[in-house]
Symmetry: C2
Subunit: 317 residues, 2 copies
């Protein structure tokens, strides 16, 4: 068994999911360029199906299944974008999906899963209850578990966003993406570094959930305990499949403030007229809070998603 | 002097402003298609420079000026998107712009004008004071007055959005745009009907500011008095230059409720992940409130702009 995912896996994923995903646009914004003193290319995964890059990895996993595996469906635990993405991918392939969600999950998230015809199994809102419930379901049904990030198929799928971006804009100096469990960052790093070895790959993370930053410094996975951030997509810990890829390919992980995330999010809405979620604003915040790194550079930014509760915006609290 | 603007004027405008404007994308949204039972092509003028279609007409006017006229600059009265658009077009051509604004204009609108280096002249917030102040400035300075809509150059410029849309998606059954003073709708109608005579052109308007609807029915311009709508871009009356074009080319003007505008706006933000302003949501509301007209059709919708005060969203009041 190979150590970890390769560029070939990302390319195979791109081919496999091509007809199911959106090839998202790359947008630019001269006023943000002027503020940073660089040239920024935003890969708009907020326009991806189900509103986030997660649909890439989920569809790669679902369309990698054998017919026999399909008969038993897929299962995962997630209260966020991965739940909706896996449900939709399963719906497109016409297979069963079971999603373990905590009883505390927002009703809007449950509704998105239900609209895709997936079955929701509620559990207590603890990491242990989620894992135990999922294990039980997998044993009972034989469903294939698709982890939100600690899964080679998911990592390869997430890497297709950077593959598209670096194909369209080949002369980037830096590519940056948010990091939580590391699926997006590790896929991005493989796709970028293996095609453009001189590119600098930077992870970005809230200072209040800086476990990936500390993990990279310490050389071992530090758990994300008691994360303090509005970036609700960035509260997981690195996995044993994503961490070695990040160690190999990622140049640094930058941290940003909560205030910077909110300001970055609002700036993108105002200037670019697009809706991004707090997690997607983390690399935008990094442009401003680590400006010296980005000034004068050509920078690719993965805007990871756009799923926001419009009734509770962070700047209106 | 010819009676009114022609397709040749719109085509000449497109050529004249090509290198200054954004050729905005056309977006689709399968979930909104499903709700309407039609196929909708959204022309995203919220991504236009300065956040609205207004930049097309303003640049066509500014880049139509002779060198002699340039020496004396341009002037207008506006507290909205036209003010910022004209300021920016003048800045790009390197000429002076004077904008008459009511003392009550939001500071964010004044700031946008000032960022473009235009001069603001404040006046009392009455239609008469605005016109008198502008007349005085025009006499004193010799500046060319660029009216927000009652101007052939502006009408032709606004028509370039529909020209792009119908070139990209040639087989539309219907094209729809909001109507206020009628610059966008009349330009849209010329561009659409003269290139695709079988297309149906529909204006859309808030029921609380339905003067254009009534004007078309009565066959004469009805003034927009005491408009009651959150669509702040749609509170003007038709002009003597836009009305005859609308009479000749526009098939009908549909009215929509305030609740429909707010719901349409929020739906576009949620499903399409783009920021549109209330005025741009008026044709979206029409899709839902006049569904029988649109069901089964291929529909072009001009999303007119995306300039919104993010601190005061209509659904959070």
């Amino acid at each position: 068994m190979k150590v970890f995912s390769s560029l070939d896996d990302v390319r195979a994923a791109a081919e496999r999911i091509r007809s199911y995903i959106h090839k998202t646009p790359v947008m630019t914004c001269s006023s943000i360029d002027d503020l940073i003193g660089g040239r920024i290319f935003f890969k708009c995964e907020n326009f991806q199906k189900m509103g986030a890059f997660k649909f890439r990895g989920a569809s790669n996993a679902v369309f990698s299944l054998t017919d026999k595996e399909c008969g038993k469906g897929v299962a995962t635990h997630s209260s966020g974008n991965h739940a909706a993405a896996l449900s939709r991918a399963a719906q497109i392939r016409g297979i069963k999906a079971i999603i373990v969600m905590p009883t505390t999950a927002p009703s809007v998230k449950k509704a998105a899963v239900e609209r895709c015809g997936a079955q929701i199994v509620l559990c207590e809102p603890t990491q242990k209850a989620r894992q135990d419930t999922l294990d039980h379901i997998a044993r009972e049904t034989g469903a294939t578990v698709v982890h939100p990030y600690n899964d080679e198929r998911v990592i390869a799928g997430q890497g297709t966003a950077a593959l598209e971006l670096t194909s369209e804009i080949p002369d980037l100096d830096i590519i940056t993406a948010p990091v939580s469990g590391g699926g997006l960052l590790s896929g991005t790093a493989i796709a970028a570094k293996e095609t453009h070895p001189r590119i600098s790959v930077l992870g970005t993370e809230p200072a209040g959930a800086d476990d990936a930053h500390r993990s990279l410094k310490l050389g071992k996975i530090v758990l994300c305990e008691h994360p303090q951030t509005i970036a609700d997509g960035l509260r997981m810990s690195l996995g044993e499949k994503t961490f070695p890829i990040i160690q190999k390919y990622v140049d640094d992980i930058l941290t940003v403030s909560e205030e910077g995330i909110i300001q970055g999010m609002k700036l993108v809405w105002e200037r670019m007229k697009i809706v991004i979620e707090p997690s997607a604003a983390v690399p935008v915040a990094a442009l401003f809070e680590h400006k010296a790194i980005f000034s004068g550079k050509r920078i690719g930014v993965i805007l990871s998603g756009g799923n926001v509760d419009l009734d509770h915006l962070p700047w209106s609290k």
